[in-house]
Symmetry: C2
Subunit: 189 residues, 2 copies
């Protein structure tokens, strides 16, 4: 006999902040966040020092789930080339959803503009980890310049998710040929 524990006020605030800022932007008001979470403002300020801290914690909390949707499983045995292409196939597939607004970590940084904001710092770290993943795979795959290729792939990742997120383009037939061209030019097997 199991009972499902109701999420705590803290969890509910983190989830509401992640969902609402992704949909409406980081300027969503504290009132709206608390209402969506079913938590009083007083409780919110007991749990988090500020809305900025709540925002940072909500981006932090969703990181592992987000990374898991992009990267291959730990026991994936495919080639570096395929493991790189996997990330872009995942974004392509995610971008088909009507509620897709691009990479939440890129959007947060663009919206906040302040790179020292606690949420920007979380977002920056998540994106750097993705670039590190690309760099490690590029090295493994024998890229001529693994650092350049990793930066190029990060650029394509952000450009693709930004453009799909604003409905400027669709990723099928675009992102895979672009990445393939860059992998070929870098000599990644």
């Amino acid at each position: 006999m199991t009972t499902e524990a109701k999420p705590s006020p803290r969890e509910r605030l983190l989830d509401a902040a992640a969902a609402l800022t992704y949909r409406s932007g980081v300027n969503i008001g504290v009132e709206a966040l608390c209402k969506a979470a079913g938590v009083s403002k007083r409780s919110m300020y007991q749990l988090f020092e500020s809305k900025d801290e709540l925002l940072a914690a909500s981006l932090e909390k969703r990181t592992s789930a987000y990374v898991a949707t992009l990267l291959p499983a730990a026991d994936d045995k495919r080639s570096p080339r395929e493991r790189i292409l996997h990330v872009f196939a995942q974004v392509e597939s995610q971008s088909a959803a009507p509620e897709f607004h691009g990479c939440p970590y890129l959007a947060a940084q663009i919206e906040l503009k302040d790179q020292d904001h606690p949420a920007s710092r979380v977002a920056h770290r998540v994106k750097e980890n993705l670039t590190s993943y690309f760099r490690a795979e590029a090295e493994q795959g024998g890229a001529a310049d693994p650092d350049l290729l990793a930066r190029q792939l990060s650029l394509v990742f952000d450009g693709a998710s930004a453009r799909a997120g604003i409905g400027a383009d669709k990723l099928p037939g675009l992102v895979a040929p672009t990445v393939t061209t860059l992998l070929d030019a870098a000599g990644v097997r």
Copy 2:
């Protein structure tokens, strides 16, 4: 004997909206906009139906100046390949400024999230025109698939300006090699 005409309240509002939203985001308040422009709220609402309309008009107003900073002069006689690379050299050079926050038209769309917002529609059109420029040059330069190349170049443009705008990367040594690789693969002379 000439006297410099003081900008009208309308001009001052448009300029303040462009500058403040670029620096702080589209959620900047009406009070702050009016204060920066030295115009009363009452006057603002006589000139613009809403803040949304002011925002759209301010993006519209800066379009020709923005496009002029990116595209070659009308009498430019260089090859399509060089005319494409010119755009990216311009972004690379702009991105070195400390006040660079990426492409204002991309940022506005990401921040607004609503593609039907009047300012999003202006921004969308400006970006489409850039893609059309790339497509025309790609055709002229004999690209195997001008439409694909134009979409790829737009993706690189947005990815590069977004990443430079948030300080995730610097464009020298990144954007030119990326564009060159795509131009080579497309067979653009």
